[in-house]
Amino acid sequence: MSEQMKNIFIKGKITADFIADSISKHQSKTNIGAHSIFLGQVRADVIGGNKVVAIDYTTYEEIALSKMHEIRELIFAKYSLTCMHVYHSLGTVKAGEVCLFVFTSSKHRKAATEACSETVELIKGGLPVWGKEIFDDETHQWKINN
Protein backbone atom coordinates (compact mmCIF):
# COMPACT_ATOMS: atom_id res chain seq x y z
CA MET A 1 0.00 0.00 0.00
CA SER A 2 1.56 3.27 -1.08
CA GLU A 3 -0.55 5.41 1.24
CA GLN A 4 1.47 7.56 3.66
CA MET A 5 1.12 7.09 7.40
CA LYS A 6 -1.71 9.36 8.48
CA ASN A 7 -1.85 11.25 11.74
CA ILE A 8 -5.02 10.10 13.47
CA PHE A 9 -4.71 12.26 16.58
CA ILE A 10 -6.80 15.31 17.38
CA LYS A 11 -6.20 17.55 20.38
CA GLY A 12 -9.26 17.43 22.62
CA LYS A 13 -12.80 16.29 21.71
CA ILE A 14 -13.94 15.28 18.23
CA THR A 15 -16.75 17.68 17.41
CA ALA A 16 -20.09 16.94 15.75
CA ASP A 17 -19.12 19.49 13.06
CA PHE A 18 -15.94 17.59 12.27
CA ILE A 19 -17.91 14.34 11.93
CA ALA A 20 -20.59 16.02 9.78
CA ASP A 21 -17.91 17.49 7.50
CA SER A 22 -16.31 14.10 7.15
CA ILE A 23 -19.63 12.56 6.13
CA SER A 24 -20.45 15.29 3.61
CA LYS A 25 -17.04 14.93 1.94
CA HIS A 26 -18.15 11.46 0.82
CA GLN A 27 -21.12 12.69 -1.20
CA SER A 28 -18.94 12.95 -4.29
CA LYS A 29 -17.93 9.29 -4.01
CA THR A 30 -21.03 7.81 -5.61
CA ASN A 31 -19.64 4.27 -5.78
CA ILE A 32 -20.23 4.08 -2.01
CA GLY A 33 -23.51 2.49 -0.94
CA ALA A 34 -22.92 2.13 2.80
CA HIS A 35 -21.14 3.95 5.60
CA SER A 36 -20.53 2.64 9.08
CA ILE A 37 -19.56 4.98 11.89
CA PHE A 38 -18.39 4.23 15.41
CA LEU A 39 -18.21 7.04 17.95
CA GLY A 40 -16.57 6.44 21.31
CA GLN A 41 -17.89 8.77 23.98
CA VAL A 42 -16.46 9.45 27.45
CA ARG A 43 -18.78 7.89 30.02
CA ALA A 44 -19.41 9.49 33.43
CA ASP A 45 -18.86 6.27 35.41
CA VAL A 46 -19.29 6.45 39.17
CA ILE A 47 -16.53 4.56 40.94
CA GLY A 48 -16.39 4.45 44.73
CA GLY A 49 -18.72 7.46 44.96
CA ASN A 50 -16.63 9.57 42.57
CA LYS A 51 -17.84 10.50 39.11
CA VAL A 52 -15.60 10.52 36.03
CA VAL A 53 -15.68 14.05 34.61
CA ALA A 54 -13.05 13.62 31.89
CA ILE A 55 -10.41 11.34 30.41
CA ASP A 56 -6.93 12.60 29.68
CA TYR A 57 -5.39 10.68 26.76
CA THR A 58 -1.69 10.27 26.00
CA THR A 59 0.10 8.19 23.37
CA TYR A 60 3.46 7.01 22.10
CA GLU A 61 2.90 8.51 18.68
CA GLU A 62 5.74 6.80 16.79
CA ILE A 63 4.39 3.34 17.59
CA ALA A 64 0.72 4.35 17.48
CA LEU A 65 0.87 5.69 13.93
CA SER A 66 2.77 2.72 12.54
CA LYS A 67 0.41 0.34 14.35
CA MET A 68 -2.59 2.20 12.90
CA HIS A 69 -1.03 1.86 9.46
CA GLU A 70 -0.76 -1.92 10.02
CA ILE A 71 -4.40 -2.10 11.15
CA ARG A 72 -5.49 -0.14 8.09
CA GLU A 73 -3.60 -2.49 5.75
CA LEU A 74 -5.02 -5.56 7.48
CA ILE A 75 -8.60 -4.24 7.25
CA PHE A 76 -8.27 -3.21 3.60
CA ALA A 77 -6.87 -6.65 2.76
CA LYS A 78 -9.76 -8.38 4.54
CA TYR A 79 -12.76 -6.26 3.52
CA SER A 80 -13.83 -4.67 0.26
CA LEU A 81 -13.73 -1.07 1.50
CA THR A 82 -13.85 2.14 -0.46
CA CYS A 83 -12.31 4.19 2.33
CA MET A 84 -11.63 4.33 6.03
CA HIS A 85 -10.98 7.22 8.41
CA VAL A 86 -9.89 7.04 12.04
CA TYR A 87 -9.50 9.86 14.57
CA HIS A 88 -8.57 9.57 18.24
CA SER A 89 -8.42 12.35 20.80
CA LEU A 90 -5.39 13.29 22.85
CA GLY A 91 -5.46 15.44 25.99
CA THR A 92 -8.60 16.13 27.97
CA VAL A 93 -12.01 14.98 26.74
CA LYS A 94 -14.95 15.67 29.05
CA ALA A 95 -17.73 13.19 29.86
CA GLY A 96 -20.28 13.19 27.05
CA GLU A 97 -17.73 14.25 24.42
CA VAL A 98 -16.50 12.04 21.58
CA CYS A 99 -12.94 10.69 21.79
CA LEU A 100 -12.87 8.09 18.97
CA PHE A 101 -14.30 8.30 15.44
CA VAL A 102 -14.04 5.34 13.07
CA PHE A 103 -15.64 5.72 9.66
CA THR A 104 -15.69 2.97 7.02
CA SER A 105 -17.37 3.05 3.61
CA SER A 106 -18.05 0.36 1.04
CA LYS A 107 -20.29 -0.55 -1.87
CA HIS A 108 -22.51 -2.78 0.27
CA ARG A 109 -23.31 -2.60 3.99
CA LYS A 110 -21.71 -5.79 5.27
CA ALA A 111 -18.10 -4.84 4.52
CA ALA A 112 -18.51 -1.37 6.06
CA THR A 113 -20.15 -2.57 9.29
CA GLU A 114 -17.82 -5.53 9.87
CA ALA A 115 -14.68 -3.54 9.04
CA CYS A 116 -15.76 -0.75 11.36
CA SER A 117 -16.40 -3.11 14.24
CA GLU A 118 -13.11 -4.98 13.79
CA THR A 119 -11.12 -1.75 13.47
CA VAL A 120 -12.52 -0.48 16.78
CA GLU A 121 -11.48 -3.73 18.49
CA LEU A 122 -7.97 -3.55 17.03
CA ILE A 123 -7.60 0.09 18.09
CA LYS A 124 -8.72 -0.62 21.64
CA GLY A 125 -6.36 -3.56 22.02
CA GLY A 126 -3.40 -2.56 19.90
CA LEU A 127 -2.78 1.19 19.91
CA PRO A 128 -0.43 2.55 22.56
CA VAL A 129 -2.87 5.08 23.99
CA TRP A 130 -3.52 5.55 27.71
CA GLY A 131 -6.59 7.08 29.31
CA LYS A 132 -6.47 8.69 32.74
CA GLU A 133 -9.95 8.96 34.22
CA ILE A 134 -10.30 12.23 36.11
CA PHE A 135 -12.87 12.27 38.93
CA ASP A 136 -14.96 15.17 40.19
CA ASP A 137 -12.83 15.39 43.36
CA GLU A 138 -9.70 15.81 41.17
CA THR A 139 -8.36 12.34 41.99
CA HIS A 140 -7.82 9.94 39.09
CA GLN A 141 -7.40 6.34 38.07
CA TRP A 142 -5.97 4.74 34.95
CA LYS A 143 -8.60 3.41 32.57
CA ILE A 144 -8.69 -0.33 31.87
CA ASN A 145 -10.04 -1.58 28.54
CA ASN A 146 -12.33 -4.61 28.64
Binding site: E62, I63, L100, G125, P128, V129, W130, W142, N145
Partner: protein, 113 residues
Protein backbone atom coordinates in the same frame (compact mmCIF):
# COMPACT_ATOMS: atom_id res chain seq x y z
CA UNK B 1 26.92 4.27 26.39
CA UNK B 2 23.89 6.43 27.01
CA UNK B 3 20.36 5.23 26.44
CA UNK B 4 17.02 6.94 26.84
CA UNK B 5 14.08 5.32 28.59
CA UNK B 6 10.55 6.62 28.01
CA UNK B 7 7.70 5.93 30.43
CA UNK B 8 4.01 6.07 29.59
CA UNK B 9 0.63 6.00 31.33
CA UNK B 10 0.70 5.18 35.05
CA UNK B 11 4.42 4.40 34.88
CA UNK B 12 5.14 8.15 34.76
CA UNK B 13 3.64 8.46 38.24
CA UNK B 14 5.98 5.78 39.57
CA UNK B 15 9.16 7.17 38.05
CA UNK B 16 8.20 10.84 38.41
CA UNK B 17 9.27 11.55 34.84
CA UNK B 18 8.39 10.58 31.30
CA UNK B 19 12.01 10.36 30.23
CA UNK B 20 15.17 9.06 31.85
CA UNK B 21 18.74 9.07 30.59
CA UNK B 22 20.94 6.20 31.64
CA UNK B 23 24.71 6.69 31.46
CA UNK B 24 27.68 4.69 32.58
CA UNK B 25 30.06 5.89 35.30
CA UNK B 26 32.22 7.77 32.84
CA UNK B 27 29.43 10.29 32.48
CA UNK B 28 29.79 11.48 36.09
CA UNK B 29 33.10 13.28 35.53
CA UNK B 30 31.76 15.10 32.51
CA UNK B 31 28.81 16.31 34.51
CA UNK B 32 30.95 17.39 37.48
CA UNK B 33 33.28 19.33 35.22
CA UNK B 34 30.37 21.20 33.71
CA UNK B 35 28.77 21.85 37.07
CA UNK B 36 31.94 23.26 38.64
CA UNK B 37 32.05 25.98 36.06
CA UNK B 38 28.56 27.13 36.99
CA UNK B 39 27.46 29.34 39.85
CA UNK B 40 26.19 27.73 43.02
CA UNK B 41 22.47 28.13 42.32
CA UNK B 42 22.86 26.69 38.84
CA UNK B 43 24.88 23.83 40.29
CA UNK B 44 22.04 23.00 42.65
CA UNK B 45 19.42 22.93 39.93
CA UNK B 46 21.70 20.89 37.67
CA UNK B 47 22.16 18.35 40.44
CA UNK B 48 18.43 18.15 41.02
CA UNK B 49 17.89 17.59 37.33
CA UNK B 50 20.48 14.82 37.42
CA UNK B 51 18.68 13.13 40.29
CA UNK B 52 15.30 13.33 38.58
CA UNK B 53 16.09 12.51 34.98
CA UNK B 54 19.33 10.60 34.94
CA UNK B 55 20.69 7.36 36.32
CA UNK B 56 24.42 6.90 36.32
CA UNK B 57 25.27 3.29 36.83
CA UNK B 58 28.54 1.45 37.10
CA UNK B 59 27.14 -1.57 35.32
CA UNK B 60 27.24 -1.83 31.60
CA UNK B 61 23.66 -2.21 30.43
CA UNK B 62 23.91 -4.33 27.32
CA UNK B 63 20.36 -5.65 27.01
CA UNK B 64 16.74 -5.08 27.99
CA UNK B 65 16.84 -7.71 30.74
CA UNK B 66 19.64 -5.85 32.57
CA UNK B 67 17.90 -2.56 31.98
CA UNK B 68 14.69 -3.90 33.48
CA UNK B 69 16.60 -5.11 36.56
CA UNK B 70 18.20 -1.69 36.99
CA UNK B 71 14.84 0.08 36.65
CA UNK B 72 13.14 -2.29 39.11
CA UNK B 73 15.89 -1.72 41.68
CA UNK B 74 15.55 2.03 41.22
CA UNK B 75 11.73 2.09 41.06
CA UNK B 76 10.47 -1.00 42.96
CA UNK B 77 6.80 -0.08 42.34
CA UNK B 78 7.29 -0.83 38.63
CA UNK B 79 6.97 -4.48 39.66
CA UNK B 80 3.27 -3.86 40.46
CA UNK B 81 2.39 -3.14 36.82
CA UNK B 82 2.61 -5.35 33.78
CA UNK B 83 4.34 -3.57 30.91
CA UNK B 84 5.76 -4.24 27.47
CA UNK B 85 9.11 -2.96 26.32
CA UNK B 86 9.79 -1.33 22.97
CA UNK B 87 13.30 -0.83 21.62
CA UNK B 88 13.55 1.88 18.98
CA UNK B 89 9.74 1.72 18.50
CA UNK B 90 9.60 -2.08 18.09
CA UNK B 91 7.82 -4.00 20.86
CA UNK B 92 10.10 -6.86 21.89
CA UNK B 93 9.36 -10.21 23.53
CA UNK B 94 12.84 -11.41 24.50
CA UNK B 95 16.03 -9.94 25.91
CA UNK B 96 17.23 -7.50 23.26
CA UNK B 97 20.68 -6.00 22.83
CA UNK B 98 20.87 -2.23 23.26
CA UNK B 99 23.00 0.14 21.22
CA UNK B 100 24.29 3.57 22.27
CA UNK B 101 21.48 6.01 21.68
CA UNK B 102 18.75 3.36 21.82
CA UNK B 103 15.35 4.62 22.89
CA UNK B 104 13.55 2.16 25.13
CA UNK B 105 9.90 2.62 26.00
CA UNK B 106 7.97 1.01 28.84
CA UNK B 107 4.36 0.55 27.81
CA UNK B 108 1.67 -0.34 30.38
CA UNK B 109 -1.61 -1.95 29.16
CA UNK B 110 -3.27 0.18 26.48
CA UNK B 111 -6.56 1.92 27.27
CA UNK B 112 -7.44 4.04 24.28
CA UNK B 113 -10.88 4.63 22.80
Amino acid sequence: MAITVLFFGQLVEITGSGELLICETAGIEDLTDTNEKQETNVLTSAKQKTVTNQIIDTRQISGTKELKELLLSRFPRLADIVFNIAVDTVIIEEDTRLKPGSIIALLPPFSGG
